[in-house]
């Protein structure tokens, strides 16, 4: 790929011209050679971390089939929430330039939630513009788990769920209805 430059040089760059014109230095910005081995290394490490500690937290994930770029994750509904006792399946698809780009995460189990649409798409900032390559599968799943009990009612994908959120009884009923309807559909 490229020759590693030493940090002193990098520091010089930044101090001499305030913004190091990285793009002008490398006029071809994006065609990174796909280094699948590096990505799989990272994913394997995430998998290990998740298997070591994820279970205690109510989240788990495992590669789905041969490819390590597609995972199936599970999230247990938090105790004391409307989702308690329910277990949701999600799919995670890691791009080849992961972790510089976020994975695509979808609910596979029907989920009645203000920020989840009928196709299972999730509206969560860290899966979009707030993504950081320091996040990993575990933090994603934990974030979604906490999203379940703390929805962002400002930008709902499911406005009915958002409207019903304050009516705990009916909301819970809808959560269960949709969950078991989805299960019936699956089997």
């Amino acid at each position: 790929m490229e020759v590693r430059y030493n940090p002193a040089a990098a520091a010089d760059n930044s101090s001499d011209h305030l913004r190091p014109p990285a793009s002008s230095k490398h006029p071809l910005p994006s065609p990174h050679p796909v280094d699948t081995s590096a990505v799989s290394k990272r994913l394997q490490k995430e998998l290990m971390a998740l298997m070591m500690s994820g279970g205690d937290l109510g989240v788990s994930a495992f590669p789905d089939g041969e490819s390590i770029f597609t995972w199936i994750g599970t999230i247990e509904g938090g105790k004391g929430t409307q989702y308690e006792g329910l277990s949701y399946k999600l799919s995670l698809r890691f791009p080849l330039d992961y972790p510089f780009k976020p994975p695509q995460v979808k609910f596979e189990t029907m989920c009645f939630h203000p920020n989840v649409d009928q196709f299972g798409n999730i509206c969560l900032d860290i899966l979009q513009d707030k993504w950081s390559s320091a996040y990993d599968c575990r933090t994603i799943l934990l974030s979604i788990q906490s999203l379940l009990e703390e929805p962002n009612l400002e930008s709902p994908l499911n406005s009915y769920a958002a409207a019903l959120w304050n009516d705990k009884e009916d909301y819970r009923r809808m959560v269960h209805k949709q969950y078991f309807a989805g299960e019936a559909l699956e089997s």
Partner: protein, 337 residues
């Protein structure tokens, strides 16, 4: 104090029978207790200094005077109150433990200590002479007193410190005695009179102590300049868990300041990488990943701040608060892995 007096009555017989094993333990803890006593002594000293200044009698000249027979003699009236504890040496350990913790725990704790110091002098001057007469009456206030006697026994074989302490206590007791005429001190005597029944009264005794203490003696505060060095350092104990949280690298990522591998690509960090700190938040990564991020959105994965666009110091000083807050959050997410 309450627990002291409750324990004081029933235990002695049992404690005396199973003496031999216990003696060893007592001796071992003698050093520790001596330390605590020293603390109490210092505490006492400064208290009495304050008191003497405030007292109307103005007997400053004698406040730190060496013990004299006369001083001891003034304490005679206290004797009978203390004799009950003479035979109960071995539960002194128990009493002392609860007693010594009181300065930090209960507002009246200092006073408990105060009481014991005073009584101790009385009984030690009288030795075992004052016999059975009022052992029951000492129920409440003898507990601390027992403690000191117990220590006396231990210290004799440990070091010569005791004489010093005894003399000091005598002097202090003398001060106390003289202060009794002061309007705020009578409660010191009252508990002794009313403590003959034991636990129920000792509770009220503790209550009655409070007003006296509110005058000029109070527990040490952590920042008190006069606080004895030998008291356990609370602030130090409280800060024990903190080193974990402390940021070594100048930011919340500091704890992971020397990861063995790049958190982004999981490749091992080489020497150049480990000496490379691209962001003030302390998030480290390898040069490859850093370069790649620069080519894309150019924001630090640790804090989402743009990399090195502005002089870092100014940015940090302006955004300090929010920056750290946000970092702490993302940091906790990462550190769980």
């Amino acid at each position: 104090m309450v627990s002291d007096s409750i324990a004081a009555m029933p235990i002695p017989s049992a404690a005396n029978t199973k003496n031999p094993g216990k003696k060893k333990r007592t001796n071992r803890s003698a050093k520790l207790k001596q330390c605590k006593i020293d603390a109490r002594r210092e505490q006492w000293l400064s208290q009495s200094a304050v008191k003497n200044k405030g007292c109307k009698d103005g007997v400053d000249d004698d406040s730190h005077a060496p013990p004299s027979p006369a001083v001891k003699h003034t304490n005679r009236p206290l004797e009978p109150l203390n004799t009950g504890g003479r035979a109960e040496e071995d539960d002194g350990l128990i009493h002392h433990d609860s007693d010594s913790e009181s300065p930090t725990n209960c507002p009246a704790g200092v006073l408990c200590g105060t009481d014991s110091g005073t009584n101790f002098t009385g009984s030690s001057s009288s030795g075992g002479s004052s016999s059975s007469s009022t052992s029951s009456s000492s129920g409440g206030c003898c507990s601390g007193n027992i403690t000191e006697e117990e220590d006396e026994g231990d210290d004799d074989d440990d070091d010569g410190c005791l004489d010093d302490w005894e003399a000091m206590a005598d002097a202090l007791a003398a001060d106390d005695k003289r202060e009794n005429p002061c309007p705020d001190s009578p409660p010191v005597i009252l508990p002794c009179e009313g403590s003959n029944v034991g636990s129920p009264n000792s509770k009220s005794e503790g209550v009655r102590f409070v007003p006296w203490g509110s005058g000029n003696s109070r527990a040490w505060r952590a920042d008190d300049a006069f606080r004895p060095q030998s008291l356990p350092n609370l602030s130090k104990q409280l800060s024990m868990p903190n080193p974990d949280r402390r940021c070594v690298g100048g930011g919340p990522w500091g704890r992971a300041s020397m990861p063995s591998s790049c958190p982004i690509c999981c490749e091992d960090l080489d020497l150049t990488d480990t000496s490379f700190l691209p962001c003030l938040c302390g998030f480290r990564l390898c040069l490859f990943c850093h370069k790649r991020i620069l080519e894309e959105d150019g924001r630090c994965p640790g804090c989402r701040k743009p990399y090195e666009c502005e002089p870092v110091e100014t940015e940090a000083s302006v955004l300090g608060g929010s920056l750290t807050l946000r970092l702490a959050r993302s940091c906790s997410m990462i550190e769980r892995s």
